[in-house]
Subunit: 333 residues, 2 copies
């Protein structure tokens, strides 16, 4: 039946154990030390991409990197993902990705070729060129980072910190995928799609932004569905109660994974959104046209707590008023 086989408390624990949460204080200190005042910067830390106003345009700038673990497991997939996660950072803001630069530290020639092939293939598929970068040769390790430039109309940006009480929490996700053969925690749908299909999936967020169909949004990244929602709620100063049974999922039995495993996966194409009830139908239809499944999974409230429940029990995942909040530093990761 694909139902989850563990308690809400086990799931809450698993979300809290995510590595990123532990790094929160370290990155927080760094952000404070780097920050300067600048009136052109509309948003930065706390969002998937920084927003720089240029007249009626918002220029979006983000950077994201791939952990060495993934690089060791599958260099091609690491290169592909380095591009993918950056394109998602722009899409999540309702933006159009324009161009990327990469920073590459590498010594092994075979790994290098595979990473470059993965980056190239993702760049070509999504139609976003890599226009420059920096190579550190002969390093004792392999790391790939990408920075991305995007653009959106100033009045069509989707922020993370603007969720409102009584909004419906939505998950939009491409369920037509596979567990990536090199990484059991990666749900890969993008490599199975055509260029036309993935570009539609990215551009639907631009339409949602321009038509103001959502109050807030974020791409689902390494912390998974619940962890990413936690980030969005924390910066919005809100809480939510989530019904785990409503979370969209593929046939987990057929895949041979548990529901807890599914929740911890990094999905290749997925967004968390909050929206007014009367916009749900339109949003679901827009994503549906691109092959993505969208479901309401709960409601935003003013509690400052992220709670999950199923038919039997209920658990607290995060109380944002305490020190156990999720790491949401957005543009600094």
């Amino acid at each position: 039946m694909g139902e989850y086989t563990c308690s809400t408390e086990q799931i809450a624990q698993a979300v809290r154990m995510y590595d990123g949460v532990r790094r929160k204080s370290e990155i927080g200190a760094m952000v404070r030390d780097l920050r300067i005042d600048s009136h052109a910067i509309v948003a930065s830390f706390g969002e998937d991409a920084a927003v720089i106003q240029n007249g009626s345009d918002a220029l979006l700038l983000a950077a994201d990197g791939i952990w060495s673990k993934l690089m060791d497991a599958d260099p091609y997939w690491a290169g592909y993902c380095a591009v993918l996660v950056n394109i998602h950072d722009i899409a999540a803001m309702g933006g159009k990705p324009l161009a990327m630069v990469d920073v590459f530290s590498i010594s092994n020639e075979s790994i290098k070729k595979q990473v470059i092939q993965g980056m190239h293939d993702a760049s070509l598929q999504f139609g976003v060129p890599i226009v420059g970068g920096h190579l550190h040769p002969d390093t004792p390790y392999s790391v790939i980072d990408v920075a991305i430039l995007g653009i959106a109309p100033m009045n069509g940006i989707i922020y993370s910190n603007t969720a409102e009480a009584d909004d419906i929490v939505l998950v939009a996700i491409d369920l037509e995928g596979r567990i990536h053969p090199s990484c059991t925690l990666n749900w890969d749908s993008a490599t199975l799609r055509t260029a036309e299909e993935v570009r539609k999936q990215i551009s639907v967020m631009q339409e949602i932004g321009s038509r103001k169909l959502v109050s807030a949004g974020k791409d689902i990244s390494n912390p998974g569905i619940i962890g990413t929602l936690g980030m969005l709620l924390e910066v919005s100063g809100k809480g939510a109660d989530i019904n785990l049974t409503q979370i969209p999922k593929p046939d987990l039995d057929a895949l041979g994974i548990t529901f807890e495993h599914w929740l911890r996966m990094y999905p290749g194409m997925a967004f968390i959104l909050t929206a007014k009830n009367n916009n749900l139908k339109t949003i679901i239809e827009l994503f549906s046209k691109t092959g993505m499944t969208t479901k309401p999974i709960g409601t935003v409230n003013n509690s400052g707590e992220l709670r999950i429940h199923d038919d039997n029990s209920s658990s607290l995942v995060f109380d944002f008023s305490k020190n156990g909040g999720v790491m949401h530093l957005g543009t600094y990761q």
Copy 2:
């Protein structure tokens, strides 16, 4: 007298020995493998920053990193330079720097703090905020990379590849500096200047671009004055003959360095420009107002060779028709 104490041939050799030249083929292959067609990209590899057209605006995107050698020698200065070199990439194109993201690999807590302090201080001095980035903690080495976004009017961009025969080659440089105490190959003027002064020095390139006073330009980077000129000539498909005695320099005897050493230095604020003879006076005056010294050092020609001469001898530095050209891959470094 601060005159150089070695032959033109020794200097030509020293320029050719620059590390970057040797890496040319490696990076060239990488660029070919990454490149995809994209009509919005007006320029990329071969320029200091990529040019992405957005209506009448050019969005400029670049990335540049700091070698681990400098990081080991002086983490504060490495952080400062990571910001400085990126701001120069935008200024060189006639652009206004808007915002940066950084990618930081670090494990040592003390080095980390100093790098962040250096980045922060440069960011504050130049008024260009760091709006996000990515941290790789616990790496077995220390590297800092920065990507930068800038903007320029489409019709006011200064390119590298547009030098024309009979143009005058100019060097604009801030001679009021010091040999950096941590790095004898770094000429540091920027840290000795106020915020107002360095911002003027950066913005003068925007005025020069908008007023179309130059035919081509580049910021002088690690390959030094002659090496950087070589890059500009190579992508322009031109040559030049340079009079070494005309190259602006501080009091080298007082500093205790040779002329050859001076030519190999990375200057903290310097540009190579090519311009029509009738614009020279205006350009020299504009830089002069910002405390920078500008001198004509030779003439562009169609030879495809970069030659240097003094009162006694003449030497070939690069013949761009052969494999001994300089590495100029611009946005990919």
